[in-house]
Symmetry: C2
Subunit: 272 residues, 2 copies
């Protein structure tokens, strides 16, 4: 592996740009190639076979572009396809968003009661529950699908009483319980959710730790690069954006997630 090579980041769409943003902040000298499979999003409602097939195609496209490691920014793909990708790409390191999030939650929780919010597909798949129990078998995991959060994030509705009301409605069955039952840690198990973190903080107060998988994944990638001496030592920060469909929409919506303007012409269309 070449330390000067870019890091590949793959997501089913644009939500994974929150992971790319966290990676750029944590690793300012690294270059990145991001691939959003916008033609086939969302993965969460698709079968395991389809998700593995799509993930392999996306990974191959990134490997062709000479990446030194692969970050799976999509929760669904992390849950379903990581073993297949690790086997196929070895010795290239593959990191998903799921394991770092589960590790951070297990480390942060004092009581062992951990709440996970995600899309319906991720919750139903049970991958976070399994990942947390693998590290901390005594943990009590409460998983809740928050489907409206994706729409809120994509709509750019991230504050105000209405958004707070929606957050409260989802959080009530999880947190408005007896103190003995209440989780002390909340895992954001969907890449769209970090944009709603400030409202969640307002609703939950200071006592509940929010684990943002974008940040924890960026931390895990930094550690991996250090341990394998794969960190880039020269100035960088280049980002190539690839999408499988709809460059205009990709550029427009990604500006919200990415924190800066993206031009449609700078998004490269790829066929998987």
């Amino acid at each position: 592996m070449d330390a000067a090579a870019p890091i590949g980041v793959f997501d089913s769409g644009i939500g994974g740009l929150t992971v790319l943003r966290a990676l750029r902040l944590a690793l300012p000298t690294e270059d990145f190639v991001y691939l959003g499979d916008t033609a086939r999003l969302p993965y969460g409602t698709k079968s395991r076979e389809s998700i593995v097939r799509y993930s392999v195609q996306a990974a191959d496209a990134l490997v062709e572009r000479g990446i030194k490691c692969l970050v799976i920014a999509c929760n669904t793909a992390s849950a379903v396809a990581i073993d297949a990708l690790r086997e196929r790409l070895a010795p290239l390191p593959v990191i998903g968003v799921l394991e770092p999030g589960a590790q951070a939650a297990c480390a942060a929780s004092v009581t062992g009661r951990i709440a996970v919010i995600a899309t319906e597909g991720t919750v139903q798949g049970g991958a976070y529950q399994r990942a947390i129990h693998a590290i901390r078998p005594d943990a009590r995991v409460i998983a809740q699908a928050c489907s409206l959060f994706v729409a809120l994030a994509e709509e750019g509705w991230t504050q105000g009483p209405l958004v707070e009301g929606i957050v409260r409605r989802y959080f009530e069955p999880i947190f408005c319980v007896s103190r003995a039952e209440q989780p002390d840690c909340l895992v954001l198990g969907c890449t769209h959710f970090p944009v709603l973190k400030p409202v969640m903080h307002d609703v939950l107060g200071e006592d509940i730790v929010i684990v943002d998988s974008a940040e924890t994944t960026a931390g895990a990638v930094r550690e991996l690069l250090q341990s394998r001496s794969l960190g880039k030592q020269t100035p960088g920060g280049d980002v190539r954006l690839l999408a499988t469909d709809g460059r205009e929409r990709f550029a427009r919506v990604s500006s919200t997630f990415f924190g800066s303007g993206v031009r449609p012409e700078s998004v490269e269309l790829v066929d998987l």
Copy 2:
């Protein structure tokens, strides 16, 4: 064409079941084959080429099953692919949800100021605007994307103060204007939206006519069958459900739209 043959209904997913429900109510003796392309939903964010290709594949699969006419229950596919489908399937009649909705709105509006709410893709595509202007060139069309409505419908959140608040937020820029500017007719340009019609009625009051494209499409199909003597005269009401992925989810979510329970085993998986 055989009058005893079933009517084919095609949608990108499960939203089109509101159209199927309206069709069954309007045409109780007819049999139906419904195909939801759940593996590739949503169509709204995809390119024109992809939408036409997917629609042709879905239509071919329904024609193979011996349908006597095709209903495109998906707004995006109606807007983008109807000409290609009519040409390919002729003389088999093809009806989309878009034209009947536009016709009903033009007939219902007194002032000629018509509001259309839909997904972002449908609004950006401008198909409703064009269809309305083709019938009534002097009409003033205000189109507004209401992306959260799809998530609300799929979540089953169809009433209460929070839902009302979200409806108000979307409707404010459209309807909270001077009386001279206010639309007198609202077209539901997305198959998911009819489940929110009661709340919309509460918010808008009695003065604004709500055009439900599911109902207007069912009316258009009834007229077409009558005019061509294609109506089935014997008892019927059979429904076959086909999906391209995720039978369990299809069965579960479709129960909300369809108004009655659907078992996963009764959903046939097809590969397009």
